[in-house]
């Protein structure tokens, strides 16, 4: 494990296994210089785990290693492990890894007591020559079975343990536990061994409803705290993968403010700009509510931005999905061709929910995907995975966040079960950042699709139900009308829209007519105003003329009196004195 600082001091006392999940459970690896007991039934993966531990040490920690094979021959072990890509033959050539074939011959005759002194002496010579630090004794039970009595078995286990401690070797001893007894080791003589060693790991392989489930549990680990729970694991194509739910300390994620488009412009608006980069988005809905379409739109938008995308479909074949999405204007084929998009039909993956997760993780890493679509994630909870599906979904979200991958999952709701908004069958709705719910609305003989945002962390979002409209040109949302407490969709919405349009037009016409009438009245008034003004001016002129005429008449009159007086020789009298 690439240990973060608090683990560094501990890590010095621990030997990394190269299995990330196991290192995490044990807080850095197996006890260095001590012995670990690895117990499990047939086919539980003991040999692979032990070998991976050695290969990792030899390759990355410069700790050369010895594998003592009591059961399978080294040739077969090497052949079986070849597919994991650990380059074991290369390590052998560089003398970093040594296989000791110590299988007792099938026709071996035993007479009386014996011990492992010869083997340990031989190993001493080998350790000295290659400076080995790690050692595995695989299937010690095979040799122990040859010893005559319980006392001799105990003595040899003790001898081996002392030998390991004295040489400060980090050792793994694997032992078979009987058949399907998965939780307890055979009481004798292995119980003795369990008390003796510093660390004991139990591998479990069970079948639930026909689905194989593997898990491991650290039973004891002296002097350190460890995750005591059973952790599911998988033997993948690179060896062990142990799943951790991060229950002890949830990983700190890099929080991102960047938004990515959902592929539907109006949905982006509803979300205040789109999904957050690295967010987990859950789309729930009944079958046929366009969950795939919505996630397809997201995938197309991601590819258009040039982001590598992984699309995992459980329900249908990937070519079917492409064809179906093309009918609503979502063209994924060209992105598939240029390699940005990778589509996986997950029906080809069989096995536990754990298998799905590990495969999807591996595929996403291989494709270097920044966006991942899983359609639908609820397929995981099928057939025997009820118990594990939940924790797998948790880890899926943890992983995508830790990785900064934007994840869109759809989840099918069962129409019969009546779960509507209380929760998806997998309770990932509480972990998801954005939850979009799709629903049918039955109204006036139509079934229309409604979209609502149930939650969207950290973003202001519209609380309105929108109608999701699919057409051959694409996906969009339409405002819905509420009338009498009911949401109108489809034809009803269209009728309502039309009625409003007509009403609007009528109102506009009336307004225009009114304006024209008023214009006319105004013009008429203005004309009247002008003519009145002209009339006024004429009157004023007439009045002024009248005044002047009157004055001149008066002057003429007085002048006339004076003249008559003069002519008559009358006394000069003042004109007012009559």
């Amino acid at each position: 494990m690439k240990s973060s600082s608090p683990l560094r001091t501990k890590a010095a006392r621990k030997a990394s296994t190269g299995i990330a999940g196991l290192d995490e459970i044990t807080g850095g690896g197996l006890p260095r210089g001590r012995t670990t007991l690895l117990v499990g039934g047939p086919g539980s993966g003991k040999t692979i785990l032990a070998l991976q531990f050695l290969a990792h040490g030899a390759r990355t920690r410069k700790e050369s290693a010895i594998f003592v094979a009591f059961e399978e021959t080294s040739k077969r072990i090497l052949a079986n492990a070849a597919s994991f890509g650990w380059n074991l033959t290369d390590l052998q050539r560089k003398k970093k890894l040594y296989f000791m074939d110590a299988q007792p011959l099938p026709d071996l005759v035993r007479s009386g007591d014996f011990d492992l002194g010869g083997m340990l002496a031989a190993l001493d010579a080998q350790i000295k020559s290659m400076g080995a630090r790690r050692i595995v004794f695989d299937a010690l039970d095979v040799v122990l079975a040859l010893l005559p009595d319980a006392l001799a078995k105990q003595r040899e286990m003790y001898r081996l343990h002392e030998w390991l401690l004295k040489r400060e070797l980090t050792g793994i001893i694997t032992l078979k536990s009987g058949g399907d007894e998965t939780h307890s080791v055979n009481p004798q003589p292995f119980g003795f061994m369990q008390f003796m060693v510093d660390c004991a790991v139990i591998l479990n392989h069970s079948v639930a409803l026909g689905v194989s489930q593997r898990s491991m549990r650290v039973q004891k680990y002296r002097g350190t705290s460890f995750d005591e729970n059973e952790s599911p694991f998988l033997i993948g194509n690179r060896g062990f993968e142990v799943a951790i739910a991060h229950t002890l300390s949830r990983v700190e994620f890099k929080v991102n403010d960047e938004r990515v488009s959902s592929g539907v412009a109006r949905l982006d608006t509803m979300l205040g700009g789109g999904y957050y980069r690295g967010a987990s988005v859950l789309i729930t809905g009944f079958s046929g509510t366009a969950k795939t379409t919505l996630s397809g739109a997201f995938a197309e938008a991601a590819c258009r931005r040039g982001e590598r995308t992984l699309f995992v479909c459980f329900d249908s074949n990937s070519t079917e999905v492409i064809r179906n999405l093309a009918s609503v204007g979502i063209r994924l084929d060209r992105h598939l061709k240029n390699g940005r998009l990778r589509m996986i039909s997950a029906r080809v993956i069989t096995g536990s929910a754990e298998t799905y997760l590990v495969r999807i993780k591996a595929l996403a890493e291989e494709h270097r995907a920044r966006c991942v679509v899983i359609d639908p994630v609820s397929a995981w909870s099928k057939s025997g995975n009820d118990l594990t599906a939940q924790s797998v979904a948790d880890r899926l979200i943890d992983w995508s966040k830790g990785d900064g991958t934007t994840l869109v999952c759809t989840s099918l709701l069962d129409e019969m079960s009546g779960q509507v908004e209380n929760g998806s069958p997998l309770q990932i709705s509480s972990l998801a950042d954005t939850w979009i719910h799709l629903n049918y609305l039955m109204q006036a003989g139509e079934r229309n699709r409604g979209l609502s945002i149930v939650k969207s962390r950290g973003t202001a979002h519209s609380n309105q139900v929108r109608e999701l409209i699919l057409s051959d040109t694409g996906v969009t949302l339409a405002d819905t009308y509420t009338a009498g407490g009911e949401v109108l969709m489809g034809t009803l919405r269209w009728e309502k829209e039309r009625a409003e349009r007509v009403a609007h037009e009528t109102a506009e016409t009336v307004a225009t007519l009114n304006r024209v009438r008023l214009d006319a009245e105004e013009a008429e008034l203005e004309v009247r105003l002008k003519s009145l003004q002209v009339e006024l001016v004429a009157k004023q002129v007439e009045k002024a003329l009248l005044v002047r005429t009157t004055q001149s008449d008066k002057g003429e009159l007085s002048r006339g009196h004076t003249r008559i007086g003069e002519l008559r020789g009358a006394d000069t009298v003042k004109p007012g004195r009559k």
Binding site: V109, R110, D113, F114, D115, A122, D124
Partner: protein, 96 residues
Amino acid sequence: MTRNTSFSFRLYVAGNTHNSAQAIANLAALCRTHLPGRHKIDVIDVFRNPKRALADGVFMTPTLVKLAPLPVQKIVGTLSQTETVLQVLGLEAAIA
């Protein structure tokens, strides 16, 4: 197998441990009784000669290897169960 067949043994022991000392004693006694004058015993101490043990693939001590007559046979343990040892060596007739 004639009564004159010569036996050649190699006995791998681990130092002076109890088991090894017992095996040496048991083998010597058996040879004295059943193969007087026609046996050869080569004792190899794996503590002194660990590379030999590694090369010969001897992991459990003590281990007796019968080199001759053929076939080569291996017996692991202190050789305390004489009957078993004689049976493997094809000497059970000698007891009768």
